[in-house]
Symmetry: C5
Subunit: 347 residues, 5 copies
């Protein structure tokens, strides 16, 4: 049955683990970190003045919990729908109520050969002095490096606001794309090598599989450009002027990635042509072999057939050296044919 | 004969059923539903204050009835023309007289194998506190779920205006596209599977048929993006600010659908290449088989032909083991050929 | 020799008939129609107040006459050049002197099989309360239906201004495109049918011919979109607000046509691929037949060649059932081959 | 060595002739024409009031002379660089100092078969009441027709300013493109004819040569559209309102040419496909011929081989009509094969 | 491990040489040049009034040194990151602090056959009266020609500001692209020649290698257009009005290069088609040869087979001229076949 719009439906894989919420509060001097036991702790009113609050929600399958959290922060039901809809493509949405919503894909490599890439649904809600991050899976938290930097008070994160924190987290997600692209590039190099060498175990279906993965990655990275572009637009009240250069740097990275992906796609298309031409070349060689054999043996077989006829009156048969003359003739025909094909440059 | 512009011509399939008009009136507290017996009941003046009126017109073949309804609501003749012109593509039109017109296609699957999709012409006229919806066919009302929600007073529909009602109805139509896309995706997967496996019953004509359906669906979905875009433009007086997020959500869905369709189209093109390359591969194999047979048997046939000649003086014929030597020679030739082709990597 | 710019050169086919000018004057109440005998009758000053004047010029080969008419209405020499230049593509031009110029192509089907389409050059000069229409050919006036409607006082034409009259005439021209598109669609269906069935009388040259016609039609329809777009722009002083919905309707039609043409072009390209793949398939079948024949008869011919040798000492020749054993062997080889090809799925 | 920017380098073919400068001065009443002997005569100060001065510079290889002329008219060194750089593509540049610079290509047909097109570098410097035109080659002055019209006081040139003069000269250059396009169209028609007929002397290399020429011409015409567009922009102080319709007409011509070129390119691509399909068809025919021959003669050769065996016990050999029965059998096989291929529709 | 954003990572090839910084100070009258021994000498405060300071940094692998320099000039950490990130594509960035950053690629030809191109990372920081240039490699300073011109007081560089100096350096980099493009053009001509001649040593893999290089160069040149475009935008405070024409000239060059590259790409694609068609042609010729041989010798072999049969009753065998009649028949068949193929135009 079709559900009413704004109804939360989690459609990702079922997982039995409970959603885990971590609450981090910090400014340049203070830092506290705790695992949230009851949603009460998340109440925004409790946030002390001058502190940045980061709620990191691990797991998005408990839709009721997400819904309650949404009520606490006055999030629009459609926003929450996008948080749990793991099939939603990357997007940004600005809300009048003073927060913005960003959803991205964290890419993971599931298997190397053949390359298989899976996408984890990651969302951010950025408010004036808080950030809520949602991750699809429970295992292997991708944001630990940022948390470690926060705790250790190194880097610029502690000195900056929630907008810089979101940048740091998005940076982790997007830098990871470079690794994926490198893998794709390796596979492309491998395919290129096989195509150029004319490997027989290589088929166009291999290129097709590669293309599918590239198309997939492209669909996830492409909208990110637009997302960052909207974040650094002058009228955005939630991203401070100081953070803009960092987002612009991220923007540059994404543009460079899209550029790389597009060049991959183009090379893939050319490779397919080279492969087809190699196959065509090979066919040519086969046909030439066949033709050379036929052109040499057909006349010879005809000649020996002639002297296998049983006519009463066949003078050549009675020549003393007739048989040897015939061999000479056949040799002549063979040599003639070989020269003919040499002249036609078939060897 | 060409008709004067603004003349209503219904060009859909003939149906004998009478057009059925349902009149629903509601606000947050009240709800009434009745089947309209005479057009008098539709008169807008009769609408009570503070109520939303929804006229649902089932069947658009009785053009005279449509025309009268149009006069009651002061609809432009060209608008009515578009209501009954089932070949018109999706569009939006804003009228100065304070209403807007939207026409969409409801897609139905007629048969699964081969996939055949038909389109039902659905139109909306949205006024300040009324909505008129027109559906092409009488059977199987697609809006029943919305009507049920209205009646049961669940969901947000009852609390919102006519603009939200139109959103709810458009949502039903557009969500249905996902089902169509899924079917197309299934067919594409099937085709992909057959192409990769190199199935012999698969031809490019199958891909072509699939492409036709995808092209059709694309032509119906593509303009919807623009329609919603116009609905959520700031200067639109008929869509309230509260409804905009819902339409924006719908917009996201349509963009994602178009994205999906475009990736289908691209994959289709690649599949065609893979298929052609498979066929070319197969031809290569056939040619190699032929060449190997010829290259082995032509020399052999020549050899036996030699000793079938009838020359008086052929010393070999009188060797005691001549026949067996010949067999040895032929074995040698065969083995040589096999090794040659092994070396050329033809097996 | 190259002529000075602004010199009128009629380059269409020569016709001996004299240019015929019809003068129609009307408003909601009055209607008069006369064939112009002398250009004096066309003098704009003579137009009575409150009347719309329509001059319909049939034939544009008498450039001197066109030139004189141009002087009467203060038309720019370059405008007149475009009126008589039958190779000029559709365009719109707004003149400061208070009139605008539109030129279109009326499409005619010259022959059905193979489809051949010819274009008639039609131009309009729209002033405040007059319209001058120019048609290339004398026979078969395409505007008779509009004239009839004017005369009979039916339709909206009589109640509206010269801008609505131009709409009515353009509507006749553009509605006619649908007929052309339908014919092209029929031909495409025919081609599709032949390609899918794999008809042998079908070649890519047929698709090419169809493509030429479609390209031609596209070049004539494409600019019309822009023309109408300029007509309905808000700052256009010659098209009244009341006529805009009609032009917008026309605009919708043209967009739909361009859409259709583009989908035709795409299908044509796919059809070409399907055709090439069918041909490739057929070649495959031919090669398989050849290979099967060769693979069966080459070994057999070798065997009978063996026992055609004339060695003194060939024991098998003297076996009593040797001949029959040989047949058995040959049968075995044949059956083996057939099974081999069955196993390779060549049948 | 790389030269400092703004250094004049003439890189066209060397020519021994001296640069020839013609000075023409005119207004509606007066006209004078003289060959400049010393650069002093070109001094702008010498220009009488109310006269248009046209300096026509024939030959651009004497860079020192061009440089001096540039100093007289206060032309930017980079402008002069573009005047003598014959490889520079068409462009327009507006200078604050009150003049503008346009450079175009005059196209010449060097040889017809194969078509070879060369480009002459033509530049204009348009000031308030003067025009300087530069032509690459000395022979065959392309502007004589305009000069003749000026002298004869016919046409509008004498009544208008320097901007109209530049229009007249550009018109000569651009009208000439039509001739080039016609030649290209003729060659395309020829190629089309050969491809459709399936001429054997036609190869894809012919289409490629044609494509090269079309690409060349396109690169020269394409920027002209933008040049004229900038000339007719409202804020251009050097082109009077009166001349704008003429430039707009030129603009239309260029757009139509680009349109034509693009349709040529598209047809070329389709022709290549038709050609490849024709070749594929021919290969099919060849293969069928081979297969039919093989399928008929292989069984026959086998049959006669059977009765060429030397077994002691071969009953058929001793039948009185054995030989004739064999012929009957062979006839049967042949007829059978022919019917088989008829049925498979190979003839 | 992923590093915090703004951390300098040099990823180019390791080089043992020390970074060398040259400090040049000049105005129209004075010129001084020195190798910087301590970073203190670079302190901007030390710059005398009215002098342009150019710091040329050779080598970017000593990130700590770059970092210190950055602190002196108040450069953003992300700017420094882009200076040392040799994989970053060309870009421009304007900083509020009153300087702008440009990074380009200097292209070098590593080997000619096969053509291999490497890119050197070159960056500029342009301030009000200073310019810092960074080059990746230590050997072979590309800016010596500009330095020589500065020293010799020739050219316009000494009279203009730091913006003109940056233009002069960028001009060196970009002019060098022409040489690269020429080399690519030569290779393309070579490939074209081989394809048209139908050279057998040519494969599509050669075109592919060429395409890779062209794609690489394109990716480096393409963004330069946008960079210069931003430099000459009116609101740019660092580029003076006097320098704009020079940058505009550079812009023209880049546009022309991109144009050239695009035409190369298009020709490459066409060449691939011509090559495939040549191969297909050759296959056709091979098949024809085979078919002609088969069609001539199969009937002959059959005929001699007939008279090799051993039937008791074969009247022809006993005809006195039977053998010679057979030869006559075979001659007839051969001549017939030859005429048949002549008629089918296979020769």
């Amino acid at each position: 049955m079709l559900t009413s719009p704004g109804t939360l439906v989690y459609i990702g894989p079922e997982t039995e683990l409970k959603t885990r919420i971590k609450k981090i509060q910090y400014n340049e001097k203070v830092f506290s970190e705790s695992v949230v036991k009851s949603l009460i702790e998340c109440v925004p009113g409790e946030r002390s003045e001058g502190l940045i609050t980061w709620l990191n929600v691990d797991g998005i399958h408990q839709t009721s919990l997400i819904e309650k959290l949404g009520t606490l922060y006055e999030l629009h039901p459609l926003l929450l729908e996008d948080v749990v809809n793991t099939e939603h493509k990357p997007k940004i949405e600005l809300y009048d109520s003073g927060h913005l919503f960003v959803t991205l894909k964290m890419l993971h490599i599931d298997s190397e050969l053949p390359l298989s890439i899976s996408a984890e649904h990651v969302s951010f809600v950025l408010g004036h002095n808080y950030l809520i991050s949602f991750q699809e899976e429970l295992s292997d938290d991708i944001f630990t490096s940022v948390l470690a930097r926060l705790k250790a008070s190194v880097g610029k994160t502690r000195k900056n606001g929630a907008d810089y924190l979101m940048f740091a987290l998005m940076d982790v997600v997007i830098d990871n794309y470079f690794i994926i692209l490198e893998k794709l590039g390796d596979q492309l190099d491998l395919a290129e090598d096989q195509v150029i060498r004319g490997s027989k175990h290589f088929t166009l279906a291999d290129l097709y599989a590669l293309k599918r993965e590239i198309t997939l990655v492209r669909r996830f990275i492409w909208p990110v450009r637009d997302i960052i572009n909207q974040l650094i637009r002058e009228d955005n009240p939630l991203v401070s002027k100081k953070s803009v250069p960092y987002y612009r740097d991220l923007y540059d990275h994404v543009v460079q990635m899209i550029d790389t992906i597009d060049s991959y796609r183009e090379l893939l298309a050319s490779l397919a042509d080279v492969h087809l031409s190699t196959m065509s070349n090979r066919m040519n060689a086969v046909m030439k072999t066949l033709t050379i054999f036929s052109a040499i043996f057909m006349p010879l077989t005809f000649i020996v057939g002639v002297y296998g006829m049983n006519f009463d009156n066949m003078p050549e048969l009675h020549f003393h050296y007739g048989y040897f003359y015939t061999w000479a003739l056949m040799l002549l025909v063979t040599v003639g044919m070989v020269f003919y094909f040499k002249w036609r440059r078939w060897f």
